[in-house]
């Protein structure tokens, strides 16, 4: 029996196990890419529309989020499309790959499935090989769907080479991070730790590309996440990133095989250390238990959001100085007008980032609330529930911690932007004032609260539908984040709480909206609470 014996059978088994998640990812991503491409000529068809968006895309704020791309000569619809979509789709594809790869390796090992498989006549490296093959096939299929979709959409300026370069380029980027997930799965000794490690590396790579994009786009070559920007599919098609991704991926895969071969099943280089013999005096109830279990995740989220905020803040002095791009403006308008204009640019930039921060800050909160149901199905709640603890206490320890975490993360993120941004300016008065900052905070918090309250409602009343929380958040995020670039109709933005409040601090704060959204959040939580007290818990 070779070391890869029964690789084919295991791969088929993987596809059977993951068929629903793979199918969901493929359909959603391919449909997203194809439908945007299909609609794109309507959005940016004429030369004047292209010229208008071209200067927007060149502004540092957009560069920080969508990547730096260079335009030469006459810019086509397809080029604008590549600029807006490549990095965004790349990010989603990385998330998909990290989820699939850790799930297929360390996840199975944690569940004891790998042990069962390995006890049969399969090669020692076959389970890892099957996971790698699964990633290759999924990414390859998705890349092909992209290319076919783009060819069918036939945007003005699109080329056959460019269409295929986008498909293959995104596939290899996704695959690269998937293989990274396979490697971290060998290093860590359980799946949560492997996922955390992979996301840390992914985050570093993303931050590196953001900072280099704003300052020295050439240096972006050092970040694998930045390679996808270098494809330039429709103006100067460049296949180097594809080869780079494949080569790096191959190295990572070989490292993973090397480690897999030398370690015991269930073990990892980063081991779980023994802990306390007795509980500390602080660990005494459901809230401290939740904090003890989730503190690493909570602290990591809040820190990550603050770091992202600070990183975005560093570009304030580049964006907030119109004189850099228009040196003659001061003579024409006078310095007061110039400062006012700088201030407007920063307000608009901050308002745009507030959307991103609010969406990101909502994620750990939703996770904490949904965990109440995950714990229920995993049987962890059974030990707690047999104690003199009411359901009210249990529910509100999760919900309370979720609201606090998301609120703090958002304030921290926006604070990071504003504090770092203002500090980087030569004229502090151009920056965001304290009042504007707090209005920015107050404007987004009800949105975060409504999203969290909705998750509470689902967990309390219809726990099977809890995944809808993520879909709704994603819809809200795409609606407002991509909405203006894709010129989505207003009602799409109005579908979720993310679109109910005017963009603050660019616009004035609307306290009426603030009040009724907060009221709605409270109402949803109360209904969820009543439901949670009445329903059967679904223990195994």
């Amino acid at each position: 029996m070779t070391r890869f014996g029964r690789l084919g059978q295991l791969t088929r088994l993987n596809f059977r196990r993951d068929r629903f998640r793979i199918l969901t990812w493929l359909i959603i991503l391919a449909a997203l890419m194809a439908s945007v491409a299909w609609k794109f000529e309507d959005i940016y068809g004429t030369q004047s529309e292209i010229a208008a968006i071209k200067s927007t895309l060149a502004s540092p704020g957009i560069v920080a989020m969508f990547g730096a791309f260079s335009f030469k000569g006459k810019v086509t619809t397809a080029e604008i499309f590549a600029n807006e979509m490549l990095l965004f789709m790349g990010l989603i594809q990385v998330v998909m790959n990290l989820a699939l790869s850790v799930h297929a390796t360390r996840g199975d090992e944690d569940l004891g499935i790998t042990e069962l498989v390995r006890s049969h006549a399969v090669g020692t490296l076959a389970p890892l090989g099957a996971a790698a093959l699964e990633l290759v096939i999924v990414n390859g299929l998705l890349g092909m769907l992209y290319s076919i979709g783009l060819t069918a959409a036939n945007m003005p300026g699109a080329t056959t080479e460019g269409n295929w370069l986008i498909g293959i380029g995104l596939a290899t980027t996704g695959l690269l991070f998937g293989l990274l997930g396979l490697l971290t799965a060998q290093l860590a000794d359980h799946s949560a730790s492997a996922t955390g490690l992979a996301y840390t590396l992914f985050g570093i790579s993303y931050l590196a590309r953001m900072i280099t994009d704003v300052q020295h786009p050439k240096l972006t070559w050092w970040s694998p996440m930045g390679w996808v920007e270098k494809l330039a599919p429709y103006n100067a098609a460049n296949w180097t990133p594809v080869w780079l991704s494949l080569l790096t991926g191959l190295i990572l895969l070989n490292l993973a095989f090397f480690l897999n071969d030398r370690r015991d099943l269930g073990a990892g280089a980063i081991t779980t250390r023994p802990g306390r013999r007795t509980a500390s005096a602080l660990l005494r109830g459901p809230i401290s238990l939740l904090w003890r279990r989730e503190r690493n995740v909570i602290i990591a989220w809040i820190l990550a959001v603050i770091i992202f905020g600070i990183a975005y803040g560093t570009v304030f002095n580049t964006i907030g100085d119109i004189l850099k791009t228009n040196p003659t403006m001061q003579q024409v308008f006078g310095s007061t007008m110039v400062h006012e204009a700088n201030h407007q640019v920063l307000l608009s930039f901050t308002s745009l980032l507030a959307i991103v921060m609010a969406a990101v800050a909502t994620i750990p909160g939703i996770q904490l609330i949904l965990k109440l149901h995950t714990d229920e199905t995993r049987g962890w709640l059974e030990a707690l529930y047999a104690r003199p603890l009411s359901r009210t206490t249990l529910l509100f320890s999760h919900v309370g911690m979720a609201f606090i975490t998301s609120t703090l993360a958002y304030i921290g993120g926006l604070g990071g932007i504003v504090v770092m941004g203002d500090a980087s300016l030569t004229h502090v008065q151009d920056g965001i004032s304290a009042t504007e900052f707090w209005h920015g905070v107050a404007a987004q918090l009800p949105e975060i609260w409504v999203f969290l309250a909705l998750s509470t409602l689902l967990v309390g009343c219809w726990p099977r539908l809890k995944t809808l929380s993520w879909a709704y958040l994603a819809l809200g995020f795409i609606g407002v984040y991509m909405g203006s670039l894709l010129k989505l109709p207003d009602w799409v933005k109005q579908l979720t709480p993310a679109g109910w409040m005017p963009r603050v601090p660019l616009h004035d704060m609307n306290w009426t909206t603030f009040s009724w959204m907060t009221g709605l959040a409270i109402g949803l939580v109360v209904i969820g609470w009543i439901g949670y007290r009445r329903r059967d818990l679904q223990m195994r």
Binding site: G275, S280, R284, W380, M539
Partner: protein, 298 residues
């Protein structure tokens, strides 16, 4: 003076959609009593226990612990109750020691000398993260937390399925100790020797119904004795009342059959008239008893 039962269940029912999981459950558990709750897999043991814990709500009937309703007064009841589930799931990134202490604190009690003693007797390493524990070790964590708690009613749902015989014995000693202190215990188990050794009374559940309650001795009377007899003449035993599964033996005039206990003396009287040359009788084993009830066969 009548003593109030610790647990009182009356015609308890539970429906999951169209599935009638519990049809009719009625039994009581008295202070100082170990009650064995047994039945085949899927009969409704765990569903009953979950209703008792207030995790799921009964669709009919009543259940009271300490005279309080199990759904609406669950928090007050849990103050004086200890529970060990059959499949113990623990928070993976906490150590066993931390979990034991936390569970105790949640009941307002604390880590005592007794806790340390139990940790040592069960041979648990409390510094390891729960993620790394085997099934047996996870059960030990739950058992140690339950035994170090000073409760009045203990519920164990197949608590020893992952334990080795040594630890199983420690468990049994601990339960008998609870009994001596006048505590009530509800023990759901498949291990017959455990049930035989510890339980004062037994309730057998099948397909969502309690089909028998009583002491082991009482139940034995409801079953049959196996008899092997060699007679001096060619009398045919097949037609006797209360005799079943008759087979002819290897020798002439030798018979093997099962007799219902209530007909035993009548059958013996009849046989005695036919010159009994040899007679062997075997009381029903526990296995026979359970097979009888579990399969529901005559």
């Amino acid at each position: 003076m009548t003593i109030n039962p610790v647990l009182e269940i009356n015609h308890l029912q539970k429906k999951f959609g169209h599935l009638q999981a519990l049809k009719d459950i009625t039994f009581t558990v008295q202070p100082g009593e170990v009650f064995g709750f047994i039945g085949p897999n899927g009969a409704g043991k765990s569903t009953t226990i979950r209703i008792l814990l207030g995790i799921i709500r009964a669709s009919g009937g009543h259940a009271q612990i300490f005279g309080q309703d199990v759904w609406s007064d669950s928090v007050a009841i849990h103050q004086r109750l200890a529970y060990v589930p059959g499949d113990v799931y623990l928070w993976p990134n906490l150590t066993g020691g931390e979990i034991i202490d936390l569970l105790l604190k949640l009941n307002g009690s604390a880590h005592t000398v007794k806790t340390d003693d139990l940790i040592q007797r069960f041979g648990l390493d409390p510094t390891k993260k729960a993620r790394t524990y085997s099934k047996g070790n996870r059960q030990k964590v739950a058992l140690i937390a339950a035994f170090s708690q000073d409760a009045d009613f203990y519920i164990f749902d197949e608590p020893t399925s992952g334990l080795d015989p040594l630890n199983e014995r420690i468990f049994q000693e601990a339960v008998l100790d609870l009994k001596q202190h006048g505590k009530a215990v509800l023990l759901s188990s498949h291990i017959l020797s455990e049930v035989e050794r510890m339980c004062d009374r037994i309730g057998i559940i099948r397909e969502g119904q309690i089909i028998e309650t009583g002491s082991l001795a009482e139940m034995r009377h409801l079953t049959r004795t196996m008899v092997t007899v060699t007679l001096g003449d060619n009398f045919d035993v097949t037609d006797l009342t209360g005799v079943h599964e008759v087979t002819a033996g290897q020798h002439p005039n030798e018979w093997q059959f099962a007799v219902e206990d209530k007909e035993l003396s009548q059958v013996m009287t009849t046989l005695a008239q036919h010159q009994v040359e040899a007679l062997q009788s075997t009381p029903p084993t526990l296995e026979d008893l359970f097979m009888h009830y579990y399969t529901g066969k005559e």
